[in-house]
């Protein structure tokens, strides 16, 4: 099936009433989750994962993906109107978006953000179609050594890009990998680290870990910070239309943001957040009037908003083509695929076309639904913020508890949830990003299987693995990601100062 034929088939799947409703529900929940500072898309996806168990795989994935990209829309709404970014990826939008609100241009900022997101979503769908088809073909040549190297390189890149110190990220990776070894070992069925518990033989469930690290930890932060009331600005429908000048200023930032976002999304790590920062910096650099940035420049809204939606599309590429997630959100999508009995990977397109093409087409439909739904209903969505935070926090916790229990009807999952909730709270207090832990937990079993198969294939000769070009290139990429920044810093420090600069007192003086 060619890309165009596949996309047409995907629309046929996505337009089925059940799938269309799942898409609508997903983007609606995503918008609300994005608006509310609290649970976040990862927590919400984890929370709703148990309720998708009875759905068809394509339907479940369409809904969960809808939450993922829908939250990007919602996050921008509160950033612009109340200067409260619902998501980390909306922080940059608040810089100029809220300034526009203060100048009475909230409607224009919201419209440009929505149109930018829609355009980026559409570009992203095109990118997925092209990139996934090509990458899946290449991935058919991958053997266990390549898969091991890819997962390892992904973890190393993630450790470098996740923010904060690399040592913290490595500790998170080690915890995730160690958790992934708990339970029945897949080859010889030896029980590992179960301490006699039958429930632990099944391994540590991903969902309670994610719910704890993201949902419970966030609610504990809300409990700590006390109750806040948002000062909500009302926006009338007729104020939503940007002026011709505003459209003109936004069009190129949207185009650049879409591409920057998609490409950034392919890289392991906090792609959406990174994409918004890159886009904002880029727009300020190319602008003839960079001094307007931070004071209500519409380019500062258009670019980053397109970029964060483009990044969500880009992040789907490694998942759909290789079956490897590089972010917590795509790890949940992988979990949903596995739970419904689907083996993600390069054969997904040929073996389960309805899932692959259905999800891709639903992303286009979902972006359209968001565009049509969000602008007229912006007032209604923002009014969600009027819900008292303590009530919201309590309900989120109750849903986390019952959601975690309902996965396996297991008391152990509840304790995992609570334990990781407290641990996640401590990590937040220490400004340590937990995402390397989640990704390592997902990739750990794949890495072990690939490594053991690779060693078996090469009869224990580790050096023979490095003789494979793709494996070597991936490993070098991972090592470079970790080693290059300190080496560059060292090289810069050891360089003799430029005579012209040293005579004036050095750079920056």
């Amino acid at each position: 099936m060619g890309p165009l034929e596949g996309l047409a088939y995907g629309f046929a799947v996505a337009l089925q009433p059940t799938n269309l409703f799942a898409c609508f529900l997903g983007v609606l929940i995503g918008t609300i989750v994005g608006i509310l500072p609290g649970i976040g898309p990862v927590g919400a996806m984890a929370l709703l994962l148990p309720s998708t168990l009875s759905l068809q795989p394509a339907t479940a994935l369409i809904m969960l993906a809808g939450i993922y990209y829908g939250s990007m829309y919602g996050g921008s709404t509160t950033s612009i109107l109340v200067n409260v970014p619902g998501e980390a990826s909306s922080v940059v939008t608040a810089l100029d978006g809220y300034q526009m609100t203060r100048r009475g241009r909230a409607g224009a900022a919201l419209s440009v953000a929505a149109v930018g997101s829609f355009v980026a979503g559409s570009v992203g769908v095109l990118g997925i179609v092209l990139a996934v088809s090509w990458l899946a073909d290449q991935a058919l040549r991958f053997g266990p050594p390549e898969y091991f190297a890819l997962a390892l390189a992904g973890l190393l890149l993630l450790s470098r890009l996740s923010g904060g110190s690399v040592i913290h990220a490595f500790v998170m990776v080690a915890i995730g990998l160690a958790l992934g070894t708990v339970g029945m070992e897949p080859i010889s069925a030896v029980r590992r680290f179960t301490f006699g518990s039958t429930q632990l033989s099944q391994g540590v469930e991903l969902v309670p870990v994610i719910m704890g690290l993201y949902g419970v930890a966030e609610v504990m932060l809300i409990a700590e910070s006390g109750l806040r009331k948002a000062n909500i600005v009302s926006v009338r429908l007729r104020e939503l239309l940007p002026t011709r000048e505003e459209w003109r200023r936004s069009s190129w930032p949207i185009a650049r943001g879409s591409v920057v976002g998609f490409v950034t999304g392919l890289i392991p790590g906090p792609a959406s957040v990174l994409a918004t920062f890159i886009s904002y910096t880029l727009e300020r650099k190319v602008s003839k009037t960079p001094e307007r940035f931070g004071k209500g420049a519409i380019e500062g809204v258009a670019g980053p908003e397109a970029a964060n939606n483009g990044a969500t599309a880009g992040a789907m590429v490694p998942l759909l083509s290789l079956g490897i997630p590089f972010s917590p959100a795509t790890a949940i999508l992988l979990g949903a695929l596995v739970i419904t009995g689907i083996q993600p990977g390069p054969l997904l397109i040929s073996q389960r076309p309805e899932v692959f093409w259905g999800v891709v087409a639903s992303m286009y439909l979902g972006n359209f639904i968001l565009l049509v739904l969000n602008l007229p209903l912006v007032g209604l969505f923002v009014s969600v913020l009027r819900l008292p935070q303590h009530v919201l926090a309590t309900l989120v916790l109750l849903l986390c508890l019952v959601g975690a229990y309902s996965l396996n009807n297991s008391q152990l999952d509840l304790w995992v949830l609570v334990g990781f909730g407290v641990f996640g709270y401590a990590l937040r207090k220490l400004a340590i990003d937990p995402s390397p832990l989640v990704v390592a937990l997902v990739l750990g079993p794949l890495m072990e299987k690939s490594l053991r198969q690779a060693l078996f294939m090469e009869r224990g000769n580790v050096l023979a693995l490095l003789g494979r070009p793709i494996t070597l290139a991936l490993l070098l990429l991972g090592v470079a990601a970790i080693a290059a920044p300190p080496l560059i810093r060292w090289w810069r420090r050891s360089r003799p100062p430029h005579p012209a600069l040293s005579s004036t007192g050095g750079e920056g003086n």
Binding site: P50, S51, S54, S165, I167, H168, F170, V171, V173, A174, I175, L177, A178, T181, E185, S188, V190, R192, F193, V219, M220, A223, E224, S225, G226, L227, H390, V391, A393, T394, L395, L397, L398, L399, L401, V402, G403, Y405, S406, N409, Q411, L414, W415, V418, G421, V422, Y425, A426, K429, L430, A431, I432, L451, R452, L455, F456, R459, G460, N461, V462
Partner: protein, 148 residues
Amino acid sequence: MIERLLAVGALAAVLVYLASAWALPLGTAARPGAGFYPLAVGVFGAVTVLAWLGLTLRRPGPGAPGAVIVKDARGRVLATAGLLMGFCLALPWTGYPVAALLFTALLLRGLGAGNIAALSIGLLSALASYYGFGTLLGVPLPRGVLLD
């Protein structure tokens, strides 16, 4: 201080992990056993945790900005964590509806809601979630020793 404690805890955990991994069959390089990969993970974990501990010992003060919990907020944080644990302990005995009611009502009260609001929201959310998950989604939520 929190970070240093976490790092010490992580070091203890990694030592237990390494000891348990060592007890598993290692196999050979050509035929790695069940303990081969965990041992590699354990060694990686030990090295990184030691580096982390070294980092926290060299750094004076509380570490990351905001790492200290504000005194007024400590009660709310501890109450939230305590109630979560209480829910897990109470669930098999009291059953889901009672445990959920107690959890939501007490947490709401702890976070500043009035008595009547806490009780009514607690009751509503406990019943709604029991109906949603227990009846609609068919999750066998515990009913407690009294109802069973």
